[in-house]
């Protein structure tokens, strides 16, 4: 299963033509500040440990996936940060 998922990712998501996700995520400032505080406490530079058998995606794979992001916006008001996004894989 992992190999198959890696194959899909290595193709830049081409096999996922038709995938579409859009959304709005409002995040309260308390949660953001708590996350930053926890991140600072445990060290922001600490490397993220991947499972043994997992391979980190290559930059080209990430770029290929990012090409499918059609919209990404951040707005801030009334103590919350709102992230809006739209991802669509057309080919």
């Amino acid at each position: 299963m992992r190999e198959l998922l890696e194959k899909i990712l290595s193709g830049g998501g081409k096999e996922l033509a038709g995938l579409e996700i859009e959304g709005v995520i409002p995040i309260r400032q308390e949660l953001i500040n708590e996350t930053i505080a926890q991140g600072l406490k445990q060290g922001l530079t600490k490397e993220i440990e991947l499972p043994k058998e997992a391979k980190a995606p290559e930059a080209s794979q990430i770029n290929a996936l990012l090409a499918h992001v059609k919209r990404a916006e951040v707005t801030a008001e009334d103590g919350k940060l709102t992230i809006a996004f739209h991802v669509k894989v057309t080919s």
């Binding site: 299963m1 198959l4 998922l5 899909i8 096999e15 996922l16 033509a17 038709g18 995938l19 579409e20 996700i21 859009e22 959304g23 709005v24 995520i25 409002p26 995040i27 309260r28 308390e30 949660l31 708590e34 996350t35 926890q38 991140g39 406490k41 445990q42 991802v87």
Partner: protein, 171 residues
């Protein structure tokens, strides 16, 4: 530490993210589905040795089942229909309607149901309690956040359409 924040949000139904709304369609290639079935079967004993699903247009599909059971043929083709609506009354249940198999083949249905936990058979209807499976695996109940979840098929793909919302009143 960050893991704890994530765990807390999962446990509270993302209560710190009121107003969140995510919707979309995920196409699942048939190859991925068949690999998942292969993985499930690899952990199971019993007469069902393999299941391959061919996804067709209009929520139709055919399961090709390899079996090792006295009096039954070695391979069977079992056409079935996938009910489109999965989210219903706060529950997430996928329903599969098998075309009525004749004779001894009908005996296969309970065997198929027994392949995966959370699957129940009622006549030719197989119900898969996805909500319970997700809760069992993750420890969290996501069903209340799912506004809609529907399944549709086209040749070689299962399309999962979903809408997820964190209510404003959770603020």
């Amino acid at each position: 530490m960050l893991q704890k924040i994530l765990e807390r949000e999962l446990a509270s139904g993302f209560s710190s993210l009121p107003g969140t709304h995510i919707k979309g369609t995920l196409p699942v290639p048939g190859a991925l589905l068949n690999q998942a079935l292969k993985d499930v079967l690899a952990k199971k004993g019993g007469p069902v040795k393999g299941v391959m699903v061919a996804l067709l247009e209009g929520n139709k599909a055919i399961a090709v089942i390899a079996i090792d059971q006295f009096l039954l043929p070695k391979t069977l083709e079992l056409p079935f229909t996938i009910e489109p609506v999965v989210a219903n009354n706060g529950k997430l249940v996928a329903v599969i309607e098998l075309e009525s198999p004749g004779g001894l083949v009908g005996a296969l249905i309970p065997l198929l149901a027994g392949l995966m936990p959370g699957v129940t058979a009622n006549g030719t209807t197989l119900s898969i309690d996805l909500g319970a499976r997700v809760k069992e695996k993750s420890g969290h109940d996501f069903a209340p956040l799912i506004e809609s979840l529907t399944l549709s098929t086209r040749r070689g793909f299962l399309d999962i359409s979903f809408s997820l919302r964190v209510p404003e009143e959770k603020a």
